[in-house]
């Protein structure tokens, strides 16, 4: 790949996502948005061409102003209904981007996602496609309690026919969302609510980041850390402490879980011979376990130590601040775990 210098601007992940949506909607009239209150104020006299909310987290802010209410569609609280409609629209030629406000609501619409959208191409013998992106919010950290703080990307990564994207910073969020929208398959796009406000350098322009390619967020020779979403930041913090102790970790951000950049992970383990996976999701049948299992098979001979996972516990997300604090993998726990295997 040729590195091309591109102009960048500093912005939050929320704004980077908003920019990606705007670019995608400008380049293709088939791109539409739908979800609950993604504009807000539908049918309110003084808000005909203006949004009331622009999404509960503001990711879709101001888009109704440019693209109008025919392309930025507020929906009733009807997850199965509007996600199903998005699948039907995708199968008939549009490229919808639906917002599932929190991933925790997947239980209200999972059939339309995994049984309809994700399977139709296969069931129909390749004669259909479902170019649909479902953006959704994940993660603990704001005391949103047990029904608004889950991750659960493992559930979608498990399902054939779905691609899963988990950006960890504004630049990746923009590039990956652009690729997701241009992709012809069903993509679940997981936005960590704690990262919305985190700012970073974001390239101008409309270049996408390919799905299936990880990114080395920090190079190091001693231990490989595969970190997902917000856990990249937690791991970067841990890396500083560890570096002070003479331990240099390499931090891999897979960026997409399905497909997974197995080569990048295995190459790193080939160098470090040690692997820690950091995942905020619940541990059982998780993405962490998935990556561990992959390396325990394909990279077994490269390993000099047990594969360690730092994850949330096997519990729902507690509300109380000190409990939520111990629920989320901390830099301290990550550092401690790395120390165990060096």
């Amino acid at each position: 790949m040729v590195a091309v210098a591109r102009e960048t601007r500093t912005m939050s992940m929320k704004d980077a996502l908003n920019e990606a949506l705007r670019i995608a909607m400008r380049e293709d009239p088939n791109v539409i948005l739908l979800g609950e209150d993604i504009a807000g104020g539908a049918d309110v006299d003084h808000l005909i061409n203006e949004d009331a909310w622009g999404g509960p987290m503001g990711v879709t802010k101001n888009l109704v102003q440019e693209f109008g209410r025919n392309r930025v569609l507020d929906t009733p609280i009807t997850e199965a209904g509007f996600i199903g409609a998005a699948v039907g629209a995708a199968a008939t030629g549009l490229r919808p981007v639906a917002e599932l406000m929190y991933v925790d609501f997947f239980g209200c619409c999972m059939d339309q996602i995994f049984d309809q959208g994700a399977k139709l191409r296969y069931m129909f013998g390749g004669k259909a496609k479902c170019p649909l992106v479902i953006r959704t919010q994940i993660g603990a950290g704001v005391n949103a309690a047990a029904q608004h703080s889950g991750c659960h990307y493992s559930v979608f990564t498990h399902m054939p026919g779905i691609k899963t994207v988990i950006p960890s910073n504004p630049a990746d969020a923009k590039g990956l969302l652009l690729s997701a929208i241009r992709d012809d398959d069903l993509v679940m796009f997981f936005e960590n609510k704690v990262l919305y406000g985190v700012r970073g350098e974001v390239p101008d322009g409309d270049e996408g980041i390919p799905l299936g390619k990880g990114d080395i967020k920090r190079a190091g020779d001693d231990v490989t850390i595969v970190a997902i979403s917000r856990m990249v930041n937690q791991s970067l913090t841990a890396a500083k402490t560890l570096s002070g102790e003479g331990i240099e970790v390499e931090i891999i951000d897979p960026r997409t879980l399905s497909p997974l950049d197995e080569d990048m992970i295995l190459s790193s383990v080939e160098k470090t011979h040690r692997l820690v996976i950091v995942d905020e999701d619940n541990p059982r049948c998780s993405a962490a376990a998935d990556i561990a299992a992959m390396v325990a098979d394909k990279g077994f001979d490269l390993l000099d130590a047990p594969i360690k996972m730092v994850t949330a516990p096997h519990t729902p997300v507690p509300f109380s601040p000190p409990l939520e604090q111990v629920y989320v993998p901390s830099p301290e726990k990550i550092a401690e775990t790395v120390r165990e295997i060096v």
Binding site: I32, N70, R71, L73, T75, P76, T78, A80, G81, F82, I83, G84, A85, A86, V87, G88, A89, A90, A91, T92, G93, L94, P96, D111, Q112, D115, Q116, L120, R121, Y122, M123, F124, G125, G126, K127, A128, K129, P160, G161, K163, D183, D184, D185, G212, P259
Partner: protein, 324 residues
């Protein structure tokens, strides 16, 4: 509102389609019993007037969604019957290359968005197809077929509300055949006429005689016109009956013989045939010739499908994604 009587050609076409469905289903049942058709088979025989009465108003640009009992909808919408037979058998020549089977026959080019193994799943999908039509402003409509049992699913409610507030060009066709598996609608559906549920969405709800082609045809015409002209969705309840059990193998202890023969006496194909002959639109001989032609073509399809190759085992791994 009345729709004018379809012309002779369209009527003969409808008759042909209905005979095709019946012939297809009778053979599917028999060949299932003979072990030629793997998996499940849910037969549409008896309900032909509904699929054909509705789809007579549609073109390839219009979309339908269907159910586990989908063969009739597929044929009415113009999916290749030859490929359907092969699909039932799981052969590589099937419309889905054998990967879908009876419950997942589809042909998006024909506007057929799939039979569906999930009861009630088709209604939101049809809203989506209608949304595409609405956004493109191309005048296309979509139709969702579903059963009395499906009318109790949450997706029914969500889809009808969504279609109503967005004035989507979609027609919801409830095929009330009195039973969901072994459960009577009188038990599971809390309201006498499912059409009355339309009031909950402030859209028209129409009851038609699902055993009578003309009753369906007329109501469908009005609903399709309404949809095409931007006036939004309609719920049509077609009172119908399935001549066979829920699936092939069902012992059908839950229906009486009297009930079955009462409906069989009102066979929709016989009904249309009688009408055509009585109104001098066709002679018995002409209709017999259609029957014969359909029969022969289907027999050939079965023979071809039996002789056709299985899919290559590598095909199990393809078509999951467009790119991965």
């Amino acid at each position: 509102m009345t729709t004018s009587l379809p012309d002779r050609e369209r009527l003969l076409d409808a008759y042909t389609r209905m005979v095709e469905i019946r012939t297809f289903e009778d053979a599917a049942g028999k060949n299932f019993a003979d072990g030629l058709v793997p998996g499940f088979v849910h037969l549409y025989a008896g309900e032909e007037a509904v699929a054909v009465g509705i789809c007579s108003h549609l073109t390839d640009d219009d979309f339908i969604t269907s159910t586990h009992r989908g063969h009739g909808h597929c044929i009415a919408k113009g999916v290749d019957i030859h490929g359907m037979v092969a699909e039932l058998m799981g052969k590589s020549t099937g419309v889905c290359h054998g990967k879908g089977g009876s419950m997942h026959i589809a042909d998006v080019d024909k506007g057929m968005l799939g039979a569906n193994g999930i009861v009630g799943a088709g209604l939101p999908l049809a809203c989506g197809a209608a949304l595409t039509a609405k956004i493109r402003g191309n005048g296309a409509v979509s139709v969702s077929f579903f059963g009395d049992g499906a009318s109790n699913q949450g997706t029914f409610h969500e889809a009808l509300n969504l279609a109503a507030i967005w004035k989507l060009p979609v027609i919801f066709v409830c095929e009330n055949n009195g039973y969901a598996e072994a459960t009577p609608a009188s038990y599971a559906v809390s309201v006498g006429d499912i059409a009355n549920r339309a009031a909950a969405y402030d859209i028209p709800g129409i009851i038609v005689d699902g055993l009578d082609f003309f009753s369906v045809y007329e109501a469908a015409g009005a609903a399709v016109d309404r949809a095409r002209s931007g006036q939004g969705p309609t719920l049509i309840e077609a009172k119908t009956y399935r001549f066979y059990g829920h699936f092939q193998g069902d012992t059908i202890t839950y229906r009486t013989d009297e009930e079955v023969s009462r409906y069989r006496d009102r066979d929709p194909i016989t009904g249309l045939r009688t009408f055509l002959v009585d109104h001098d639109l066709a002679t018995s001989g002409e209709l017999d010739a259609i029957d014969k032609k359909v029969n022969e073509a289907l027999a050939r399809s079965w023979d071809d499908a039996k002789a056709a190759p299985w899919p290559a085992v590598e095909d199990a791994l393809t078509n999951v994604y467009v790119s991965y």
